[in-house]
């Protein structure tokens, strides 16, 4: 028989193998839920599928009696708005600073130590400070995301800028480029697809900070809802919310990949 390291699954087999763990998890949940229900029909820890359905129906497809809003969609919209605003701002700052510190040694020498120092601050530790400075509104939540992922983006894009072969920079200079032209025509277009990669890596962290901020001070949002209904042990709401967040994270990641492949074909083909 061939060595294990040399046996590669065919495409259908790979898909089947990939699906099995999901199935097992679902069956495991079903068994657990039913056995707990058999012992105590009031059990809230592992709700049945029908309970999930009614919870989703209540929150997503019927207006709230108190506010008249569709709570689920309202939460989704608020959270996505915060997340995307934060990530967009962080991407912008990260790109600019990463690019210029990587391209211009004088600025790099000037800013890199302070960026490294700031990146070592645990963002959650300064959350109270953010609430004091920016209030309890939207700004402080967006700021937490920005503070949480910008240092990583700056440092990553600094490195990506440095990684662009020196030969290209020399070549551009022999073609008459000045520093600014070189940055915007040679470095920037090549760092942009790498920014997309860095964003994919930092989205998970961004979600973490979003939910943390919403858990502590918010009046709506996916994280807020989870932490609100936790008091009533409403697993029938928490678990669908978690699944929904996971799905949103997946979609955002997928969108980033697709967009990057669409706008930067040369980057993905060369890899």
């Amino acid at each position: 028989m061939k060595r294990w390291i040399n046996i590669k699954p065919s495409k259908p087999l790979a898909i089947a193998l990939g699906i099995i763990p999901f199935f097992l998890l679902m069956i495991l949940y079903q068994v657990g839920s039913e056995s707990r229900k058999a012992e105590n029909p009031q059990d809230k820890l592992l709700p049945s599928v029908s309970q999930f359905q009614s919870a989703i129906d209540r929150l997503a497809f019927n207006p709230s009696k108190r506010t008249g809003e569709f709570v689920f969609w309202q939460d989704t919209a608020s959270s996505l708005k915060r997340l995307l605003t934060g990530v967009a701002c962080a991407a912008f700052i990260g790109l600019i600073l990463g690019l210029i510190t990587g391209a211009i040694p004088l600025i790099g020498a000037n800013l890199n130590p302070v960026i490294t120092a700031i990146s070592l601050i645990p963002p959650m530790a300064v959350l109270p400070l953010l609430f004091i400075v920016f209030g309890l509104g939207e700004l402080s939540k967006v700021m937490l995301i920005i503070i949480g992922i910008t240092p990583f983006l700056i440092r990553d894009l600094y490195q990506r800028t440095k990684d662009i072969p020196q030969e290209q920079l020399v070549k551009a200079q022999t073609l008459g480029a000045n520093s600014f032209q070189l940055i915007i025509r040679v470095l920037l277009p090549q760092v942009l697809p790498r920014l997309m990669d860095a964003l994919r890596l930092s989205l998970g962290t961004a979600w973490l900070f979003l939910i943390a901020a919403e858990a502590i001070a918010a009046t709506d949002g996916l994280g807020y809802r989870i932490f609100l209904v936790r008091r009533y042990l409403s697993m029938d709401i928490i678990l669908p919310y978690v699944a929904w967040i996971t799905f949103l994270a997946f979609v955002l990641d997928w969108l980033l990949v697709k967009t990057s492949k669409k706008i930067f074909p040369w980057y993905h083909a060369a890899k």
């Binding site: 020399v170 022999t174 600014f180 083909a269």
Partner: protein
Amino acid sequence: MDIEKNQIEFRHVEKSYGDNLVLENINCEVKKGEFITMVGTSGCGKSTFLKMLLGIESHTKGTVLLDGQPIIDEPSPDRGIVFQKYSVFPHLTVRENVAIAKEFEKSTLLGRLFGNKRKLALDEADNWLEAVGLLPAKNKYPHELSGGMQQRLAIAQALIKHPKVLLLDEPFGALDPGIRKDMHKLVLELWKKYELTVFMVTHDLDEGFYLGTRLWVFDKTRHDPHAPHRYGSTITFDLPVGKTDKESLKEIEMSLTLEQKIA
């Protein structure tokens, strides 16, 4: 004696990194239109020599003159370069890769041309692509090109700026032998047509003999086994070779005798 002025002169040039002496006592003169090939063992300093010409390394002693002026110690359009790898821009198509030189020149702030000006730049780029035989691939991206085609592109890029000297840093080292032959033909053709001064570093002695009008060998003349970095390399042989006509051969001989007088 009224001979053509030297385009490049090295006078008592020395290059060291701290205590590590890489090149010493470099004295040479090169006239316009010469094709210098440089060979030597690895670490002999031939690449360092090329980098000094390019302006990315500066010499520690002596004088380097380009057209009678001290050479600028950063890369500039009067010196074109083709590296072994990575000298084209992966995010631009073939014609954009060449036209970008025009864009740098005509649009000082953004380095980007639009409309009719852009079209003119691209048309000029096409002329150079034709000269290197790359016109059919003008809308491709570099990753779609073979190694030889990428080097053709790098040459076209360098030529559009009409550099005083063209520097080639082992440009064909990574190519298959058959393709390398084609590239030799192309380089000789361009060198004659545009009366270029070429400096080429190569591993391959045959290539050096075949292409150049002068072959330089870099080596150490003194060696201290207890302190290998004590002495640097210098140009130990300066041979007139290759496909030269008699006249330029004579000129080379004359410059050689001149050099001996100075040294």
